[in-house]
């Protein structure tokens, strides 16, 4: 037995043909010609409401369009534009009513290019009212309250399994757990809950074979999945792995570094006030052996409330290659109302990154300003010493991508909640 799927009737207001795609499920149908809302259950289709919309809207998916959504066939049978008004501005969204006689009804909503696939729930989720922000739980998933508003119907087309009227209002409460959203709609007659799932617009365009490309989605929608959050999480995990690897490398370096002392002066003295040139001297030649490695020059000067400056030149005897560098050692201390204080250090380390093996000597030109008349100092040269700096630079650079992604995720989250009842203070969205 096969039943007709469409009944044909005519509008009592303007005479235009009226199609009923949902048969006995339709309670109201809108005349596509004059916009009157008709009682679909009345054989004469008496007028429930004459055309009242102040503005005409055109659905992006035409009525009667069939599409395959998540493997199921659906037909667009109704379209309504609803909106909420905040501070004198009305924000409109579209609701498409989909029908399949074997599956019942389903909805698609569209706001600023953001689409949701919505199904009415058969029972209310469990609600917790604790704290400032209530939440509801469905199948162990927690949905945070997003917004409470009064939605008004502004425009209708097609047929509906309820008695639709332009001007209808319902109190809506939205709870989000991206990419899902639970919405409650309350009218004096009934309370219904529905579960929405965020859908990329391109998927809608493919499902219904719509021409062209979907308009670009603007802003961040309440239940829009956060592309950056999971990425930030996985990047943070990967970063911890990097930290572990680098820590292991540091450990290996600490164990394997030879730290071989290749030269050390005995304690030497010079007379501080003398001109630098007269104090300059050249060390005996010393041998740097092994492979090319770093070379650490440690300067220890027993300065007391003063400074010493050492102009160094490391010269390779064979090639004449010269490494010039200057080091300052300064140490000050005293006592004030906060107690004892000190600044600087009597010891300085300089590391030359890679010095090939060979015969070397140091040319040293010291100068100093200290209260004492003689200054004791010492120079120690070691090769192949472990340094942390390259590892730390490496860790800092590796931290940049996860930090960048985390900032994007944070930015998306704050953009999402900016539109909610929980916008940061200063934003006057909180209308609850």
């Amino acid at each position: 037995m096969s039943a007709p799927t469409v009944t044909s009737l005519s509008c009592p207001q303007c005479g235009a043909a009226i199609e009923l795609r949902t048969l006995d499920q339709a309670l109201s149908v809108v005349c596509s010609s004059c916009g009157s809302i008709l009682d679909a259950r009345d054989p004469n289709l008496h007028v429930l409401q004459e055309f009242q919309a102040r503005q005409k809207f055109t659905p992006q998916i035409p009525l009667g369009t069939r599409g395959t959504l998540k493997g199921e066939k659906w037909e667009v049978v109704g379209y309504q534009v609803r909106g909420i008004t905040v501070d004198g501005t009305t924000y409109y969204w579209d609701e498409y009513l989909l029908f399949n006689p074997y599956k019942g009804f389903r909805y698609l909503t569209q706001y600023d290019g953001h689409w949701n696939d919505v199904q009415v729930l058969k029972a209310a989720p469990a609600e917790q009212m604790t704290g400032r922000q209530p939440y509801v739980t469905l199948h162990d998933e927690k949905f945070k309250h997003f917004q409470t508003a009064t939605a008004e119907t502004y425009f209708v087309l097609g047929e509906f399994p309820w008695q639709v009227r332009v001007g209808d209002t319902a109190v809506t409460r939205d709870f989000v757990a991206p990419p899902r959203m639970l919405s409650e709609e309350q009218t004096p007659e009934e309370t219904t809950w529905s579960l929405g799932t965020y859908m990329p617009a391109a998927q809608i365009w493919t499902a219904f074979g719509l021409p062209g490309k979907p308009p670009h989605a603007r802003g961040v929608y309440a239940n829009q999945p956060d592309a950056y959050m999971p990425l930030a999480g996985s990047m943070a995990k990967r970063y911890l792995l990097f930290v572990a690897v680098i820590a292991a490398l540091i450990l290996i370096r600490l164990v394997t570094a030879s730290r071989e002392t290749v030269f050390a002066t005995n304690s030497a003295f010079f007379k501080p006030g003398a001109p630098a040139d007269s104090l300059a001297f050249v060390t005996p030649t010393f041998t740097v052996s092994g492979r090319t490695a770093n070379l650490e020059v440690t300067t220890e000067a027993q300065v007391d409330n003063g400074w010493a400056y050492f102009e160094y030149a490391l010269v390779n005897e064979a090639t004449g290659t010269t490494y010039e560098f200057g080091r300052e050692v300064s140490y000050y201390y005293g006592r004030d109302s906060d107690g004892a204080w000190s600044e600087g250090s009597r010891r300085d380390r300089a590391v030359l990154p890679s010095v090939p093996p060979g015969q070397y000597f140091l040319r040293v030109a010291p100068e100093a300003q200290v209260p004492t008349s003689f200054l004791e100092y010492r120079i120690i040269v070691r090769r192949d010493v472990p340094t942390l700096t390259p590892y730390l630079i490496c860790l800092a650079l590796l931290a940049l991508p996860p930090i960048f992604v985390a900032l994007r995720a944070w930015g998306m989250e704050s953009a999402r909640w900016k539109e909610s009842d929980y916008a940061p203070s200063g934003d006057d969205d909180d209308d609850e």
Binding site: A3, T22, Q25, N100, P101, G104, A123
Partner: protein, 242 residues
């Protein structure tokens, strides 16, 4: 607001029927009978049907021993988009069923179908079909004291068959038509109260209950929302274009 099969009347008649079946019962086994109104041969899907509607002349017929007695007429049912029809077969809870009858209910903001199922093991159940939402229910097994119709309020909770249910909505509906074989022989055409109960604000379960006030004393039914796919249904109505 005239004439409705009181669904509960129907259903409580059914419980009498069940009672009879477990006790001593006159078994009406004939599979066919002639319509006393138009003479057409009527085939029964359920051999113990108490009442049927002649599919040809729409006479409401009640079995009296081996004969059928015409007790009224019904008008044509409005076209439906339901995928279920008389003769649809399926499986639910490891028991096969066949759809043998239907009651159509209407209220000011909608309507629904109650399909009467007979199961292979000799049981029965109701498959309700409202805006594509399907649910299977059977009379509650525990005999709890149900509230009077005028004492019932949305939000109140009652334990029915060991589950706590909350009154979610109250609907005043009336009978809008019948077809096929049904387990009762008389009906009440007044508007009657139906209470829909859900599982106390816990959307994790698809169980529900209804309390039916159409027959003097309230009758509770407990059931589960189902998807058509879960019923492995055969002989569904073929809907053109789908």
């Amino acid at each position: 607001m005239t004439g409705t099969v009181i669904p509960s009347a129907a259903r409580s008649a059914e419980s009498r029927d069940l009672h009879l079946r477990h006790g001593e019962r006159v078994d009406v086994t004939a599979r066919t009978a002639d319509c006393p109104n138009c003479g057409a041969t009527i085939e029964f899907r359920w051999s113990s049907a108490v009442q049927t509607v002649c599919p040809y002349c729409k006479a409401v017929l009640v079995r009296r021993d081996l004969d059928l007695e015409k007790v009224g007429m019904v008008s044509d049912l409005p076209p439906t988009s339901s995928p279920i029809q008389l003769g649809t077969e399926g499986r639910w809870q490891e028991d096969g069923f066949v759809v043998v009858g239907r009651i159509v209910y209407r209220y000011d903001r909608g309507g629904w179908n109650e399909w009467y199922l007979r199961t292979m093991r000799g049981g029965s159940a109701w498959l309700s079909d409202a805006q594509g939402d399907l649910a299977i229910s059977a009379p509650a097994t525990s005999g709890i004291a149900l509230p009077a119709a005028n004492a019932l309020q949305v939000g109140q909770s009652y334990a029915i068959d060991d589950t706590l249910f909350r009154v979610a909505s109250l609907t005043r509906a009336r009978y809008a038509g019948i077809e096929g074989e049904l387990p009762f022989e008389s009906w009440n055409r007044d508007e009657a109260l139906f209470a829909d109960l859900d599982t106390d604000g816990n959307g994790d379960t698809l169980r529900f209950a209804t309390i039916d006030y159409s027959d003097g004393s309230p009758v509770a039914y407990v059931g589960t929302y189902v998807e058509l796919d879960q019923l492995a249904a055969r002989n569904l109505r073929r809907i053109e274009g789908w």
